[in-house]
């Protein structure tokens, strides 16, 4: 729906706004490596969609296991979004996950990466582009 102005939004629509597409991911708060969680494969699909699971099989093959590869994906995600790098699905991470976003991947074919935020770090991208972040 396209509203030319904020004031043109009917009141009845405002009172019946549907939940966001990814709100259910908040149910995974607290999940961590080594366990199996019903439906976690869907969250793996999200991380795969945005480039955080390199060399992943097709999304239909994801398991519900919180495995090493998924923990690495969570860590990279947390770095990119300047979150505490905990490696598990803490509250701050999932609140970031459910935010509306651009559909372009953060890491594309493993060759382009958002950098690691506020700390000094180097993000490699197939040895042709490399950035060094410096906090000020």
């Amino acid at each position: 729906r396209l509203f030319p102005n904020v004031s043109s939004i009917p009141t009845w629509i405002s009172k019946n706004a549907p939940p966001g597409a990814w709100d259910a991911y908040l149910n995974f708060t607290g999940c961590r490596q080594g366990e199996n969680y019903d439906g976690l494969s869907k969250l793996k699909t999200y991380f795969n969609q945005f480039g955080y699971i390199p060399n992943a099989p097709s999304s239909s093959n994801f398991t519900d296991d919180f495995d090493d590869a998924f923990e690495a994906a969570v860590r990279n995600y947390q770095k990119n979004f300047n979150l505490n790098v905990t490696g598990f699905l803490d509250n701050a991470t999932l609140n970031q996950v459910v935010k509306p976003r651009c559909g372009v991947a953060d890491i594309i074919n493993g060759t382009t990466s958002m950098n690691s935020g506020k700390t000094n770090s180097t993000a490699s991208s197939n040895n042709t582009l490399k950035f060094h972040t410096v906090s000020h």
């Binding site: 729906r1 396209l2 509203f3 030319p4 102005n5 904020v6 004031s7 939004i9 009141t11 629509i13 405002s14 706004a17 549907p18 939940p19 966001g20 597409a21 990814w22 945005f50 770095k79 990119n80 979004f81 300047n82 970031q96 935010k99 509306p100 976003r101 651009c102 559909g103 372009v104 953060d106 594309i108 074919n109 060759t111 382009t112 990466s113 958002m114 950098n115 690691s116 935020g117 180097t122 993000a123 991208s125 197939n126 042709t128 582009l129 490399k130 950035f131 060094h132 972040t133 410096v134 906090s135 000020h136």
Partner: protein, 191 residues
């Protein structure tokens, strides 16, 4: 700021890009004006200008609203979630999720609708992709990947300006300062 792989950009010497809207969307002048403003934000800081054309097929940049699977392998997902996507140079496609509650003008932050999304904010971000910028981890940057509903963020941050000026140089009339860099290139890589 980051770039797409191999620093994809529009060809050297590109001074103007044309853009057109999906004819089947039937967008009005208010909506088209939002995109015009969004393009202007990038033109102000770099060397490329943008001009609307009615010739959709021949336009460099093609803008359209689509829902669900719309044929490019990147289906939209309904309300919120993925809002839009754009392709790297020189593809030129900018797609917005037709399921969103897009607000063209006015103070979206004052909206009672919890799913209201500011159109210009998303347009400015996606134009960055069309020009060759990837996502940034700088939260203030336009190229940061997420934006909340009922949020307006349309001003280019230093991070965005520095990135686009690496690709295309600075608009000679740009008077803003980008000397305070929050990110430096690793000189050891000769970039």
């Amino acid at each position: 700021y980051t770039f797409f792989s191999e620093m994809q950009r529009w060809p050297e010497g590109t001074q103007e890009l044309t853009y057109a809207f999906e004819p089947n969307n039937g967008l009005d002048d208010v909506v088209k004006g939002v995109f015009s403003n969004a393009f202007d934000r990038w033109s102000e800081v770099t060397t490329i200008t943008f001009r609307e054309t009615t010739s959709y097929e021949s336009a460099d940049i093609k803008i359209g609203f689509y829902s669900g699977d719309h044929g490019d392998g990147e289906p939209f997902d309904g309300v919120l979630g993925t809002l839009a996507h754009a392709f790297s140079p020189t593809n030129g496609r900018l797609h917005l999720d037709g399921a969103e509650d897009w607000v063209a003008t006015g103070d979206v932050t004052a909206s009672d609708l919890t799913t209201a999304v500011d159109l210009e904010s998303v347009a400015v971000h996606e134009i960055g992709h069309l020009l060759g910028l990837g996502h940034s981890s700088v939260e203030e940057a336009i190229m940061y990947p997420t934006i909340g509903a009922r949020t307006r963020k349309v001003e280019l941050a230093d991070d965005d300006i520095q990135g686009i000026q690496v690709l295309y140089g600075s608009n000679p009339n740009f008077t803003g300062s980008t000397t305070t860099s929050s990110r430096e290139n690793d000189s050891s890589n000769g970039f």
